[in-house]
């Protein structure tokens, strides 16, 4: 534990966290995608309690960052999307988790 770190350095560390992941909704989405191989929209919606539109917006940002891959297909006549974490997303999540843990551990009591 680093007891000599100033409060400013902690705030600086917070600012350096991956801001794509740092949004609560996207952190939730990535956490669940990290523990499953793949999931569809409805499942993520139920788990995260996000609305359809909100989920689509956040997934769009994650896809843009290259953190998730969205595969669209048709099940009969209905469109169906399968979402999975990319290797880049998995690595970014691991770095984020480690950094957050470090920041929390370094915070003074």
């Amino acid at each position: 534990m680093n007891d000599t770190a100033s409060p400013d350095s902690h705030l600086q560390s917070l600012a350096e966290l991956d801001q794509i992941i740092h949004a609560p909704a996207r952190l939730m989405i990535l956490t669940y995608l990290y523990v499953v191989e793949s999931a569809d929209y409805v499942y993520l919606m139920r788990l995260t309690k996000l609305s359809w539109g909100n989920l689509a917006t956040h997934l769009g940002k994650l896809e843009e960052a290259g953190y998730v891959k969205i595969e669209k297909e048709f099940q009969g006549k209905k469109p169906h999307s399968t979402i999975r974490l990319t290797e880049k997303g998995r690595a970014a999540f691991q770095v984020y988790k480690k950094s957050l843990q470090q920041i929390l551990d370094d915070l003074p009591d």
Partner: protein, 207 residues
């Protein structure tokens, strides 16, 4: 060191969310129902057929559950593929449950061959096997209610034997005690299924 993001809890929630629809509870309850109904049928059908007749019933029920899961549950709860670790645990569970069944079969045969059917040994062994099987299942699939089902099912042979010895029930009390146990589990399953339907309406279709 505290973990700000519990991946284990997230994985557990991800798994149980998809399996809290009550369908497997209905299946488990219906499997236990055979123990309640078989003694009553054995007089007419014989010991073998009174049990074997339930196999096609289970087969049909299993197919119905798969159909309900695909056409009623999946559109409401969605679907996911789980990690290799979770799939490995499910495979281990299947193997363990098969082993438990083989042990039960061997012990049951030994007891019959040795003629120990009149004491408390059979209900005690049966009880242990049920508690052990359900506890293993509860542990491997992270579903705490299976521990309760295990206790309920484990008490059934002992309570049944006691009722039988008090001349309060026939057939070692199994129709009564297993009837109640399976009824409770099936009712819980139906309750969970209705709860799932009420709290998870069909979402707006993807566009």
């Amino acid at each position: 060191m505290s973990d700000p993001i519990s991946l284990r809890e997230a994985e557990k929630k991800a798994f149980t969310t998809l399996h809290n629809d009550g369908l497997w509870d209905i299946m488990i309850g219906s499997i236990l129902l055979i123990i309640a109904l078989a003694p009553g049928l054995s007089g007419r059908l014989g010991d073998f057929w009174s049990s074997a007749i339930f196999l096609p019933v289970w087969g049909v029920l299993y197919l119905v559950i798969l159909w309900v899961r695909k056409s009623v549950v999946a559109p409401r709860l969605g679907s996911a593929q789980f990690s290799q670790r979770r799939n490995a645990r499910l495979r281990k569970l299947t193997i363990l449950l098969i082993l438990v069944n083989i042990v039960a079969l061997v012990l049951g045969s030994l007891v019959l061959v040795l003629g120990w059917t009149s004491g408390w040994l059979v209900p005690a062994l049966f009880s242990l096997i049920l508690v052990g099987g359900f506890s293993l299942a509860a542990y491997w699939v992270d579903m705490n209610r299976l521990y309760v089902y295990g206790l309920l099912a484990g008490m059934a042979p002992l309570a049944g034997e006691w009722l039988y010895r008090q001349e309060l029930a026939s057939h070692h009390g199994y129709p009564l005690t297993f009837g109640i146990t399976s009824g409770v589990i099936i009712l819980v399953g139906i309750g969970m299924f209705i709860h799932m339907l009420m709290h998870n309406p069909l979402p707006t279709p993807e566009v």
